[in-house]
Symmetry: C2
């Protein structure tokens, strides 16, 4: 892996080839990097607007289960430019139902960027200043190896894909980041499942993470989140079109079960008050319509879109990976031990009305960080928008996040507008 003072790295970055066709400067950089890295271990691919790095059999992904996954594909997007020192890279980890298109439309689904208020020119994670990477999570369905990917035998993995964990997903991201020639990330950040990954990054690779921001997340999945996810999984598996996981081979999709799983994700995003409002029909004079097609008008249309764009088996794998997340359990049951000795500075953000990852979860992380002697700040944002507040217009969140990032950037010697130290 090239280091910041590695002449190869500088040569790559200073490559002044003009853009070729639709190849963005970032893609160009990656391509150069691949050449300089030898080109053997990972190959840049692009199909249907989805870019990925394909790692061949020489670099399998070692899974927590003890199995090795190979070949491995990691789909990702980048925004902005890496500076000469390679010190301005930001890794954004997406939520359970998110993808790598954090700041640009998803070319497959046509859905807009999922975090445009946070990532983009002039935004808290300013793409004029930072080189932003966002990869589709391991087990996902947007180009990274998951249950819908083809196994070496040419058939979809489906349930033959080994179990994956949050730590495995982070290890895959680390392979991507390393292949991109980035030794140390300035920032790892993510909401929900992405926040779990960010915490795992800081714990597993303390020297490779300068700053870490956890948004609306927890160091351990709660019983209620597990219960909701389990119901979504069971609904998928109860759908006759699930076909014991082999629906792709049968040319069908468990859309009804997938729609229930989507409801789990959607209810998760609402505030408690909004959940209640949606179902208070029983207290009004209206008779409820118990109808699979219209019982829940405001949720279902999105549900239909969801099942088209999100693979049901990916939901099974990723939600199980989240259920198994318990960072303290890997450190003798004491969360502080997960961060002991690390120099990463942490920002922990929770939203007051988030009942899935309530502020107490954020406080627990902050307390553990303090106990580990880490530099950490915790902020509970007052919001009526529930978990999904992280995607909404929340000026207090944006201002606080900008403050945290600017302060960290100064500490890292990053000038206010791009460039190196």
């Amino acid at each position: 892996m090239p280091r910041a003072n590695d002449p190869r790295a500088a040569r790559v970055f200073n490559s002044s080839r003009p853009p070729q066709g639709d190849i963005s400067p970032a893609t160009q950089f990656i391509r150069c990097q691949m050449i300089h890295a030898g080109g053997a271990a990972a190959k840049l691919q692009a199909a249907g607007g989805v870019r990925s790095l394909a790692f061949d059999a020489s670099t399998p992904l070692q899974l927590s289960s003890g199995e090795a996954l190979s070949p491995l594909n990691i789909a990702f997007e980048t925004y902005g430019a890496l500076n000469a020192e390679r010190s301005n890279a930001v890794l954004v980890c997406h939520s359970l139902t998110g993808d790598q298109f954090v700041a640009s439309p998803n070319p497959i689904t046509g859905k807009p960027a999922w975090w445009p208020r946070i990532v983009g020119p002039g935004r808290p994670i300013d793409t004029n200043r930072f080189f932003v990477i966002c990869s589709n999570a391991l087990g996902g369905s947007m180009g990274t190896t998951g249950p819908g990917s083809l196994a070496p035998d040419g058939q979809p993995y489906s349930l033959r894909l080994p179990a994956v964990t949050m730590a495995d997903a982070v290890r895959a991201q680390a392979m991507l980041v390393e292949a991109l020639g980035i030794e140390s990330l300035f920032l790892v950040i993510g909401p929900g499942m992405g926040g779990m990954q960010a915490l795992n990054w800081a714990s597993a690779y303390p020297k490779r993470v300068f700053a870490c921001v956890t948004v609306a997340a927890a160091a351990k999945q709660s019983a209620q989140n597990i219960a909701l996810a389990e119901l979504g999984r069971q609904a998928i598996m109860a759908d006759p079109d699930w076909r014991n996981g082999a629906y792709l081979q049968h040319g069908v999709r468990p859309t009804k079960g997938g729609s229930v799983a989507r409801t789990a994700a959607q209810l998760a995003g609402l505030s408690a008050q909004d959940v209640r409002t949606r179902f208070e029909g029983a207290r009004t004079k209206e008779r409820f319509a118990f109808n699979a097609d219209n019982a829940n008008d405001t949720l279902r249309p999105q549900g239909a879109g969801f099942v088209d764009r999100f693979d049901a088996n990916s939901y099974l794998y990723l939600s199980r990976a989240m259920d198994g997340f318990d960072l303290a359990a890997d450190f003798g049951g004491r969360l502080a031990n997960a961060f002991q000795g690390g120099a990463t500075r942490h920002g922990v953000f929770s939203f007051s009305s988030d009942w899935r990852y309530p502020p107490d979860d954020g406080r627990e992380i902050a307390r553990a960080l303090a106990a580990a002697g880490a530099e950490a700040s915790f902020l509970e944002i007052t919001s009526a928008r529930g978990h999904d507040a992280y995607m909404d217009h929340e000026p207090a969140f944006e201002a606080a996040l900008t403050g945290f990032i600017d302060s960290a950037a100064t500490a890292r010697g990053l000038a206010l507008n791009g460039g190196g130290a």
Copy 2:
């Protein structure tokens, strides 16, 4: 309705007919009561071991929705004997998945009594001392009018049954209690959904409830409980065998969807730690088995039994009724107003590891009662058993409940062993 000083009532109770065949003394009492009450409004029925009172068109149940439900059937069990003063009656309200067989086996399913530790000879609710009534909730599936009952047109109601609320269920119970000639209940008690009904009783009929005990319940259904129930409902409605609710007419049952709903109820009963333990597979080296038949071995067998004995449409109706429960909302948003001026004494019990109805929910009730000037005691029982701790061997709970009941009985002038004041 006979009053305690009504000579008719005394005559009924003192009836010394010998038991006839399988007619228990309680049934005998009820039969006599029916005769004395005129026998026109309600008729005692028995079929397959399930007893019920059938109210004819002259006494419809007025629903919160504004509709009237008639004819109305209320299935119930009784244990112990009513004293001459009719002052020792206890109404037990069952939970979402419970039934009227609180202290005796269910003759339909063969399942044992659901609360034998609390109700029975020598138990906290001593059937040697109290006359215990437990009725199947309105909208249920064990003999009380519900979506599986036949409508006046001879076909099952299915979704044609009007929406029901917790207040409606309590109003139906009040009709039963009145028909039994009981003007004032010594105690109304219930866990979960039953606790909601007990609170509703104390609020709606303060003069008819001497004491009220709320166990592992809340004055308002929480967002997480609503979300879990909604997933169960959607899974039922997504099952092709649900047939838009008309499965009975088609001779099928939505067993797969019902099994998901049952999982919702089962996970609800576990402690957070137990939920986590069940799904921590992702952190172990085991590969998970994503299989609709064995993914969740320890839960599924019960799930199969559940769908046999619990009507899917009843789950839709009752869970929606719970979702809509918000006692404060009917009193200007201030829970204390629901109890203002009432003389009922309250016991509120919560279990430390109950994440569905956490102790904070109990505390909220207790605070409101205190604000209303009611006599109320709140106890958080330390237990690792989650919501279902109320059915387990919890000596602290049993001792505290016994203490509360004995104290209330003394205040009501009930001697320690049966009899009147």
